[in-house]
Amino acid sequence: MIALPLIIGVVFLLVFISDKASTDRLDSLANEIKNVAIVDESGYVPARVIEAGGQQSRPASDLSELKQEVAEGKLNGLIHYPADLTESKNFEVFVNSTDLSRVQTVQSLADSLLQASLFAPLGSADVIALAQNGASSTLVTYENGKVSPGFNKYIVPGMFALAFYLILFFSIGYILTSISEEKENRSMEMALTYLRPRLLILGKLIGVILVTLTQLAFMGALIAIALLLLTQTDALTLQLPAGIDLAKLVFDPVAIFFGAGFLIAGFMLYAGLMAITAAALPARQANAFSSVFYIAGFAPFYMIQLILTDPTNPVTTFVTFFPLTSPIVSLVRNTVGNMGIAESSLALATMTAFMLLAVWLAVKIFPKGALEYQNALSFKSLFRS
């Protein structure tokens, strides 16, 4: 249950460590790289910039000889900026090594020299830094005549959408697995003798909810520990994009209510559909068929532009109410706030109705399908005793 979030945490930790290690390595190499000749025929890289970088400027007439010296190891590298640099937009780099880090360092040196030379006429270092790196922006938006919280209002409802995806990928499959496994090992008949089917399915749903909450809590704990460690080491200065400020989050009760409603109804809807699939089909077919639900979870992102910008479009309305896409579309629209209370209420009511239908169907076909080990239930038999 916690193995999966733990593995994800370890992978992220390894990625962070390797990134840091490779950055340190490159920094170290940059300090060591000397004995690189620069030939500038373009006229854009002045000698003073080259010498300021600790390298040597050489005339174009020496180009062939310099290439030979790199090949023989007398030079670590050679950078050649051709005369037609502005047309070709290409310069040459020669390195006396196949070590990727060393090659990358010399290439970075060539890029840096060119950029520094191009920005040098701007004069002050501050202006050069501004030209190279741009500047951050403070965003102020207005709504109904008042300053709006901007992206800060999307964070809290957005958490429900994120939670739905985590649940979809990490937990919904447990329903399928638990029913399929019980069918495979034939323990279903014993269980159905002593438990009502409704109780059995609800027990599985509650079990999956608890597993999901435990995984989410564990992931949250891992993230919190990681942030704490990173801030302690001074290695991280959090700069969130789009003016997001965690101190200015907006807790809109209406958005939270509908976010929670869509999350719960959506989860139960998908769980019911998974239970139906697992009960009605043999294990292998059920696994294959279940991919439909995962695809449906991602399909709305192919029309995300439309969903976000044109809420009254018939396609947007359709995917808001179609059962397989309704949870994620409603959660996304609730996040960005382009669903009014009336539409949100109707979407939630519709989703809940489909959810109840799915759970009812799951309970109805469960006893029949649970004892069909080899064959799929026919559609007719679902509704006959």
């Binding site: 019980e182 090992n185 034939r186 323990s187 279903m188 008949e189 014993m190 269980a191 159905l192 003798t193 002593y194 438990l195 009502r196 109780l199 006893p367 004892l371 080990y373 026919s378 007719k380 038999s381 006959r384 005793s385």
Partner: protein, 243 residues
């Protein structure tokens, strides 16, 4: 009440197929009732309907005067033909799990479970995962689940299938003991010597219809045969001749 099981005018249709037609029988307290029939004759479907897993198309199936429901799990012990317990947990945990489902406390289920495992020679394997036990050993554990809580009715569907003679005898002795304690036993088997040894009354099912019903002696007399095996063959003889 002397009658534990009462089946009246029971019919079952699954899809387009008539599985059982107008079946009537009773099982009394303290008797072994042999429920016989070829594969596909409707035995398991009847049992599943008795246990409310299938909904009957017609008729009434009662246990102790009432339709069975999971709320009355203490009344029944069922050993299905399709064996199945949870193989990733230990033998004793399986017994405790199903014991609790049948209304026992955890402590009670543990005590009874361990006692049963000792009785069948699996005391030392109580904490082994079920998948590490042989098929026969798993079958014994499954019998333990069925008899947990001393139910009024035991339904045993081919309980000795796959067992060696020693373990068969052990199992039959256990069934005997429960019967002597007053449990009614519905016994499904293809081994006629078991029927001869254990059964008080029997029913032979063919194509969903009862073809023979009564005490062992009555059935033999009616069909003019000496053994139950002959009775079975006589009933199914038409089918053999057709083939």
């Amino acid at each position: 009440m002397n009658t534990v099981v009462s089946v009246t005018n029971f019919s079952l249709k699954l899809g387009d197929k008539q599985i059982v037609k107008e079946l009537n029988f009773e099982v009394k307290k303290g008797e072994v009732f042999a429920f016989l029939g070829a594969n596909g004759s409707g035995k398991t479907s009847t049992i599943r309907s008795l246990l409310n897993i299938y909904e009957p198309t017609n008729g009434e199936l009662l246990i102790n005067g009432k339709p069975y429901s999971a709320d009355r799990a203490t009344v029944v012990g069922y050993l299905p033909e399709e064996r199945g317990l949870y193989t990733r947990i230990s033998a004793i945990d399986n017994l405790i799990y199903f014991g609790e489902m049948k209304g026992l406390s955890r402590a009670e289920a543990r005590v009874k479970g361990l006692a049963f495992l000792e009785e069948v020679g699996l005391g030392e394997k109580a904490n082994l995962k079920l998948k590490k036990l042989s098929g026969g050993q798993q079958q014994k554990v499954q019998l333990g689940v069925a008899i947990m809580g001393d139910p009024d009715l035991l339904i045993l569907d081919e309980p000795t299938k796959g067992l060696d003679p020693i373990n068969r005898k052990l199992l039959l002795d256990i069934v005997d003991a429960h019967q002597k304690n007053g449990a009614a036993v519905i016994y499904v088997t293809h081994l006629m010597e078991e029927v001869e040894r254990l059964a008080d009354r029997l029913l032979i099912l063919k194509d969903g219809e009862a073809k023979a019903y009564g005490t062992v002696a009555e059935v033999k007399k009616k069909l003019k045969v000496k053994t139950i095996e002959e009775a079975f063959v006589t009933i199914y003889d038409d089918t053999l001749e057709e083939k």
